[in-house]
Subunit: 187 residues, 4 copies
DNA sequence: GATGAATGAGCATTCATTCAT
DNA sequence: CATGAATGAATGCTCATTCAT
């Protein structure tokens, strides 16, 4: 495996466990077993290493989310599937999930082709279609997102923080159903 | 105002804005206009200063939450009121809300009389009463909390991070209603 | 003696002997016998330390030069005295002279009340008076300076570089006379 | 053009502009568009690269100086011509002039056939001839050099440092005449 | 109580140089 | 000959904390 990936992996773990500032570059370096210079040969500095760790996690997460939407024809399975996928991903990638839980690195939005913008556009588009057919409510994206994934997010955070031991996937059906209840058009 | 409070206030602002690790004790010191020694006269170290900032914010928040529950006789106004109060508090105390959003300081749970334990007991108790009468669903605290305040929390986080400008109080009714829908016993 | 002065002295020696970039802050620090932190308590960084060393040397030199001019009523003794004083100063303060020989630190001119501007004004003023009475030639400052102190400067540089052992004061009369010959009005 | 020369040229520019220590080998490498290894194929290390840059500049300068002396039969045109040539060369090769202005690389004198020794011998020889005929003064080489080229050197330094804009060639006649006045035998 | 000079472990980063391919 | 990945000693600087006054 290329050093670049090994470093990203090691950095991901340390960043998730201790936070970026508390992680010393030498921790990462030592884990992979390369020299200081090697790190700087692949990443210009700690900041950029963090950004790349973040972007990799974000892309990974969003790909799964998008897939969940695309796979489902009807609104309900889309909404519920997204919640389930979200919790499965968190359960399966606790480190990456922790990374995304922390405040995003500054300057990440200036990145060309910010994945967030694309993600926002895709999800909004999917939503508007079903909204158009009256299956789901007409909502601002912010509120929509809070109702849809807020419970799952909150549960994930608590679980990642070690507050409880029940795996997120165990509560997925419950949270998925609630999300659908909040978002479907009830008239 | 006593130096102790001035330091807590200044620390709160810096911790919220830049994070604990990125905040230098001298930033806080300079803002209050006190000497290095003075800080150490009132707080044994940075860690403890952070803990006290955190505890003050937590107590402040939880007091409001508890009051919201106590004030309401019926389950619905309690559930909805809590959501509204939550969003009002976040809107009115963005710095304290940001503090509580960050990972809690290690060792805070070892504190005697951890406010969290008390809070957990009070809220659980309130819930069990209404659960007993069949007005609300029988749920684990974790799931209950996620359904109840997850959307509000998620919205708050996004707003605190500057992702949107619509004040949390504006979406409070919407999120409150959704919470009630998720938690009431529908049979 | 205050640490500040001790550091300036030690820095002066090292900067003169090895140059600024080749001098490690720890060399200076170790010579004075203080901790890293102490250095940074008195100087914000290496750059500023260099600037202050430079300014001290410059002021010291220019004060002597100015005095030499003020003390002399007639042009000849002023011109010759300045050359002699210059060489005496170099001989007596080889380290400071070496500092002034190196390229000036960037950003030193932005300093309020740049000593150079004051010096230039004073010397020019002195010159214009004697020029007015026709004792000395009418010359641009640049050429004037080159003819006046160029030989002394060149000799000083070679001596400071260790190219010869004859003390600058030994050749002072010779170079002083030559300066006067080049600058006096011969008509 | 051979890589060796391209590297010398690039190095010369960077060394002159920023100084040797502040110049990174990779700056030079990048400008020429060569790999790290290529540099080390042609020069054993940075030190040697600097020495060769210096030697090339020195030889270039001294060749012109010697020529100026050889071309002139009488002492006066030799003395004045050397000053003029000096200033012309500085004006035409500011980078090389800047290199020679900086402290010489250590260990350059141990070089077999040090050009300096040869130069010193040649110039001294030329001088002794005219001294013998009584046209010029009997002077130690150090003083002789200071009187002869000190003003030109000083003016050059100031000009190279950017202190003024008047080209050295413009003041050449003036400085040349002054040099002759200082050096000719007046009896 | 208050002050601020002093400490020093610790960290990110640089850059000349080496060497396997 | 050429490449560029890898090395690692070295350096400037930060900042929580101590303690003499």
């Amino acid at each position: 495996m290329p050093i670049q990936s090994l470093l990203l992996d090691a950095a991901e773990g340390h960043f998730a466990r201790r936070g970026v500032l508390a992680t010393r570059l030498s921790d990462i370096r030592a884990e992979v077993g390369v020299s200081v210079g090697a790190v700087y040969h692949h990443f210009p500095n700690k900041e950029e290493l963090y950004i790349q760790v973040w972007l990799r996690a974000l892309t990974d997460y969003q790909d799964g989310f998008r897939t969940a939407l695309v796979e489902c024809a009807d609104a309900r399975s889309g909404v519920e599937g997204a919640v389930v996928r979200h919790l499965q991903w968190v359960s399966g990638h606790p480190q990456r999930a922790t990374i995304l839980t922390a405040p995003r690195p500054p300057g990440i939005d200036e990145r060309a082709d910010s994945p967030n913008a694309v993600f926002f556009r895709d999800v909004t588009h999917w939503w508007r279609v079903h909204e158009h057919y009256g299956t789901v409510r007409r909502l601002d994206f912010d509120v929509l997102y809070a109702l849809w994934l807020g419970p799952a997010q909150e549960y994930s955070r608590q679980w990642l923080a070690g507050a409880m031991t029940t795996d997120p996937t165990a509560v997925a059906p419950e949270l998925a159903r609630a999300a659908w209840n909040s978002l479907r058009n009830q008239e």
